[in-house]
Assembly symmetry: C2
Homo-oligomer: 124 residues x 2
């Protein structure tokens, strides 16, 4: 007899059912496990507050699904200009900030956060 498994939940489109523009970016949890989580983040022209740096205990792998953004990574000479399909791996405690997102449009990010204890590394 086949082992019982949980059913697959309905298909979700990452580019649909976008939250409306608001004061802040909209963050939705998609998948949560012990030490790993996946979020959809939707920006409508927001950027990180002046002088604010993300400095996370987790590694982050982030992918732009639609829209455009500029990401500042501490120690890099120039911002990274990101558009659809662009992905960046940010090691734990790699300080970064969102310098700009496209105004008047939705920039949709997929972000995977992995605890440093799970030793996440980008493939060579």
């Amino acid at each position: 007899m086949t082992k019982k498994t949980a059913p697959a939940p309905p298909t979700l489109n990452m580019l649909a059912a976008l939250p409306p523009p608001g004061a802040d970016e909209a963050v939705e949890m998609l998948l949560q496990g012990d030490g790993v989580r996946v979020e959809r983040i939707v920006s409508h022209g927001q950027s990180s507050p002046d002088g604010y740096w993300y400095d996370q205990d987790e590694a982050e792998w982030v992918l732009v699904l639609s829209g455009r953004a500029r990401l500042t990574i501490e120690g890099e000479a120039e911002d990274r200009a990101l558009g659809p399909g662009d992905s960046v791996f940010l090691p734990a405690h790699c300080r970064h900030r969102v310098a700009w997102t496209e105004p008047g449009a939705a920039t949709v990010w997929l972000a995977i956060f992995v605890d440093a204890e799970l030793a996440p590394e980008p493939a060579a």
Copy 2:
């Protein structure tokens, strides 16, 4: 003094540098941790062999970035038709197969695999 962190590797575009069509799907590791890995999978019309079912110890969250596919999930009355932005959560041991991918085009998948021990769950 700031703690030393690993530098962020170069930006990678998921829709660029696509592998050419071949006999098999092309699988590239993007991120690897203990119990979690992220892959880019590029299909050029391939489907799962007749009668073959994926039956994985890991949960999988899969997202179509470009192209089109049909996914069969055991016990569901109809295949799921997937296009850009569509995501599906497949619990561990949820048997599934790729019934079809678009011929003459690249179907680009992002797949996140998480060990069942990390108790991955889709958000409600």
